[in-house]
């Protein structure tokens, strides 16, 4: 069933100057699968993600969405194909109002080609109340993002992904800087992606978080895929042992 992947990447390589960031990486994401991406700093996780989101173009290799080859993937094109990314909180514009952040890069326009500010504010309000469970008096679409807590910011990034009907949601270190309770909310959110029949790629340093939500774990090491495991086939302890070995020796055994 090779063509049934939501996303398939074949033999991707990417070099920055003298540093080869990715070497012949192949990666698949099923229609309704949550894949955890693990690896040390500099393993190539971010580069792989930025290739999927169209931010970087690979030097070599092919990208398929639902079995269709896509050439010259760009950020707007990836978004059209349903890729949404929940970046670390740094990807929010801190001095700007909530509504501007929700519609960042995809502002709604009226029939005259002008911004439909009123509708964007209303949609922002509805989203925060319905999807994030904020009470209606607590949400002000005009509030500046800079005044939000880490969890609230992450909520904004998530709501942004939901609003635009993402097919593939990429979470880039989403638990960084979150409180315990906020992290639990986030994990529940990832589970809800699975229930909604969508797919997700979950990147985190924290192996516990990844293990608890992912169907499959892909381990990157120094720009190549070191191995992959179904979480149903491996215990958390075994996975951790393997991660340590990889970090030290570059091999699993």
């Amino acid at each position: 069933m090779e063509n049934n992947y939501r996303l398939e990447i074949k033999n991707i390589s990417k070099t920055f100057g003298e540093v080869q960031s990715l070497r012949n990486v192949s990666f698949q994401l099923g229609q309704n699968e949550v894949v955890g991406l693990l690896g040390d700093n500099g393993a190539g996780k971010s580069t792989l993600i930025k290739i999927i989101t169209g931010y970087h173009q690979p030097d070599e290799g092919e990208i398929y969405f639902n079995g269709q080859k896509v050439e010259k993937l760009s950020v707007p094109k990836a978004r059209q194909l349903g890729v949404e990314t929940v970046y670390q909180e740094r990807a929010l514009a801190e001095l700007q109002a909530l509504w501007r952040n929700i519609f960042l890069g995809r502002e709604l326009q009226n029939r005259f080609g002008l911004l439909d500010v009123k509708r964007m504010k209303e949609e922002t309000h509805n989203l925060m109340v319905k999807s994030m469970g904020f009470t209606s008096t607590a949400v002000d679409p005009d509030s500046k993002i800079g005044t939000f807590s880490g969890g609230e910011k992450q909520g904004v990034a998530i709501v942004r992904a939901l609003y635009f009907d993402a097919e593939i949601i990429i979470l880039d270190e989403p638990t960084m800087g979150l409180s315990l309770q906020e992290t639990r909310k986030l994990i529940n959110f990832v589970k809800s992606i699975k229930q909604a029949g969508k797919a997700a790629i979950f990147i985190d340093h924290n192996i516990f978080h990844v293990y608890s939500v992912a169907d499959r774990v892909v381990v990157l090491d120094r720009g190549r895929v070191a191995g992959e495991f179904r979480t149903s086939d491996i215990t958390l302890n075994d996975l951790m042992d393997k991660m340590y070995k990889i970090a030290e020796t570059g091999h699993f055994d």
Partner: protein
């Protein structure tokens, strides 16, 4: 800004406290605009008290209407450039090089409308060149536009041999009256152009994607790029806007005195920057408003008149403009640090 309103706390409050919190939120999100309106009104009152004869007579306001637009019209798009995290110091020279195109075209065709179009086209082209140097080659805009400022000023002097041109003949054109005449024989047309420029700038900044992206790029350029914003095109656009507005202001200033001096614009550098910064635009990018710059430019215009009317020498104006720039820029740095 120091006390971010605790959202979860709001629901537990009584309706009255709730209202107070909303008021505080309104104040904190519109603080700079309210601040500049406050400064505007307070200074006006001070000027009237200190120099009642000047500031209670209608003539002074007519003078402001016709002279402030010469730099105010440039301050508006410059506000957008600075919000986007860029700077453009070349606009005084663009005013002059635009007028060179005007003077040559007028000389060869005898048509003021053609000359006008030529100057605007030159202004946009020079703005585009600024943009290409900054965005394409990757030179910091402050340095790049200091360079182009000297280059175009030099070009003006070379092309004109250092001499000015009379524009008396241009007064016969209908366009002369449209640009710098008097509406109903009383209101200077320059003021109407300033209002129109303010309206257009407001729409661009607040009601178009270009404007939304200007704010985003100045705030967090990396985020804008990750979200698919074409940051290069947006930054090019702001330089073109400054260029075309500078050329337009150059035409207004020259037609008003019916003479084109090759030094045109040199006196406006300080006023224009002071208007933008006094108006609450942050030199760090991401923050600023058109209304603020509009009011800022009229305050700056009034300060010059006030200094003279109060009895100080004109030498004080530069000192005070410089002080205004330093204070308003520093205020943002302090506010930002307090926000964390």
């Amino acid at each position: 800004m120091t006390n971010p309103v605790n959202d979860t706390a709001i629901d537990r409050q009584s309706p009255r406290q709730n209202q107070r919190l909303r008021l505080r939120r309104f104040l904190s999100s519109n603080g700079t605009q309210l601040g500049i309106i406050g400064v505007f009104v307070a200074l006006w009152a001070v000027f009237i008290l200190l120099a009642p004869r000047t500031f209670l007579s209608p003539q002074i306001y007519r003078a402001f209407m016709s002279t402030v637009p010469f730099f105010g019209i440039i301050a508006l798009p410059l506000t957008m450039a600075i919000i986007a995290g860029e700077m453009d110091l070349s606009f005084p020279a663009i005013m002059a090089i635009g007028m060179v195109a005007f003077a040559y075209t007028f000389q060869f065709t005898g048509s003021v409308p053609l000359a006008f179009v030529a100057s605007l086209a030159t202004g946009s082209a020079v703005g585009l060149i600024n943009g290409i140097i900054v965005v394409g080659i990757g030179i910091p805009s402050l340095v790049a536009t200091i360079g182009t400022q000297f280059f175009w000023r030099g070009a003006v002097l070379v092309l004109l041999g250092g001499k000015g041109t009379s524009l008396i003949v241009a007064r016969e054109s209908f366009l002369y009256n449209v640009l710098v005449g008097k509406m109903f024989g009383y209101i200077p047309m320059q003021f109407l152009w300033m209002l129109l420029a303010t309206l257009i700038s407001w729409i661009i900044l607040n009601r178009t994607r270009l404007g939304a992206h200007i704010y985003l790029i100045g705030d967090n350029a990396q985020s804008a790029e990750l979200m698919g914003v074409n940051t290069k095109r947006t930054r090019l656009a702001v330089f073109v806007l400054v260029g075309v507005a500078s050329a337009f202001a150059g035409v207004l200033a020259s037609l008003t005195v019916s003479f084109f001096w090759p030094s045109l614009g040199a006196g406006y550098l300080l006023q224009t920057l002071a208007s933008v910064f006094l108006g609450g635009t942050s030199v760090f990018g991401g923050v600023g408003t058109i209304l603020g710059t509009f009011l800022g430019s009229y305050i700056i215009g009034a300060i010059e008149a006030a200094i003279v009317a109060i009895g100080l020498t004109g030498f004080w104006t530069k000192l005070i403009y410089g002080l205004i720039i330093i204070l308003s820029v520093s205020m943002h740095a302090v506010l930002r640090r307090r926000m964390g």
